[in-house]
């Protein structure tokens, strides 16, 4: 906009105000104020100090920024933060309880499902949503569910193994994927 350049013409005033919303982040009620153009990814990393969610392609192609929004895996780089008012967001930071890893985190560690680690937070959140819905998914279903999470290290086999193993663990422990 160069409305202010012309002489004698009143400058167009665009009010650039922050917006304020309330949402649940990893179970905690949170109130936050931010510039309205921010995506959920930017909100989490820059305003809520939760850098666990990774910033990959920014265009919805890689899945590194996957979080759960009202329990559904979505790409936080393509969600307007302002649209998260009143909703529940779960990120990788909410998985472990104190020093106790979530079964999925433990299985990925034990089975080599995480190498460089950049896809891991997104992969974990996708897998968590899958196991909450389907406690005993087939390998085919697991592969389908993680189709939107690109990993360039593992070749996926260890990730699928880990999700299967965590599913067994969670079923045996009688607990759901929390």
């Amino acid at each position: 906009m160069n409305a202010g350049v012309e002489k004698g013409v009143a400058k167009a005033v665009t009010l650039r105000r922050n917006v304020q919303i309330e949402l649940q982040v990893n179970g905690e009620p949170t109130e936050v104020s931010f510039a309205p153009y921010k995506t959920l990814l930017e909100l989490l990393r820059e305003d809520l100090d939760l850098p666990g969610t990774k910033h990959g392609c920014e265009l919805g192609e890689c899945g590194a920024c996957t979080v759960l929004l009202d329990g559904e895996p979505v790409l936080s780089c393509l969600v307007l933060a302002v649209e998260c008012a009143g909703r529940s967001v779960e990120t990788v930071e909410g998985l472990a309880q104190g020093t106790r890893l979530h079964a999925l985190q433990a299985a990925l560690t034990d089975l080599g499902g995480s190498q460089c680690g950049y896809c891991t937070p997104g992969m974990l959140m996708t897998a968590k949503a899958l196991l909450e819905r389907e406690p005993s998914p087939s390998r085919e279903r697991i592969r389908e569910a993680i189709a939107g999470n690109i990993c360039r290290c593992t070749g996926y086999q260890q990730i699928v193994d880990a999700i299967e193993s965590a599913a067994r663990e969670l079923r045996a422990g009688g607990e759901t994927a929390r």
Binding site: A35, Y37, T39, E58, L59, G60, L78
Partner: protein, 342 residues
Amino acid sequence: MMRLPWFEYRAPRSVAEAARILAGEGPGAMLVAGGTDLLPNMKRRHQSPSTLVALRGVDELKAVANGAGLQLGAGLTLTEVVDTPAVRERYTGLWQAAAQVATPHLRNMGTLGGNVCLDTRCTYYNQSYEWRKAIDFCLKKDGETCWVATASKRCVAVSSTDTAPALIALDAKARLASVGGTREIAIADLYRNDGIDFLARKPEELLSAILLPEANGWRSCYWKLRRRGSFDFPVLGVAAAAKLAADGTVEAARIALGAVASRPFLVPKAGEALVGRKLDDAAIGEVAGAVASRAKPMDNADMNLYWRKEVVSAFTTYALRELRGDDMRAERLRTARQALAA
């Protein structure tokens, strides 16, 4: 890091309110539902709307109504479309198309209306701002030359929607709402063969629903070509629908193509040529050739141009064989890595 540009955010609660905002804001406003198509484009400055009219709070856009046919709200996510039993049972072509759009994550976000209104794509367009600036931009956005066909006065960016060819084969209608009221048009008439001005939707209109006619014995399917079976926009979409008599004679048929022009389109002659015949290999072979001759892909998408044209005939054959009742799971797995059995 690519940031979204500033915009004013409006969140209407009804179609009428959304239409009023659109009318009031003029062409500077854009609609956003799932955001999976628009937000990447805004980050790369293909579009910089001054106002975003967000539709996710409009409950009427989520309505599913059975009756004579099926009405699907444009705001249903693709996951919701795939999970609608009536779609899976009676409109297999739409079900297969929606199930093959992008990835589960993107289907959780992207909507039916968004896929129907998807921006056209091109290797010279879907690039970062700096990349496009380095080639002095292109005809579709900020430039004067179409780098795909430098003599072309028309932008040849490719229509990349999966659901539209399926909806055309199923003879669906689109409902458009504006402050002046609503109108319903054949879904094929929603499109123009122009990579820039590809929708016949007026700027003050919003797509509110898709109306499918009664299934009434019609069967349908959708075949998609793409590099990765788990992801990717189509480089070819073949949708076919047919009504067969008890002895297998074709009473009516419709075949539509996607991703081989700036719009998805019906090949009327192909459907007509099947009427009164059985779907035997000879009839299928003839029609597949006729369909392939209508495909005019340009060198602006993934994969080799000539091969993409050649493969139209094979994909049409797969589609018609599936309608005939052949077990196509092996071909599905081979070409798409998904069985997609309805």
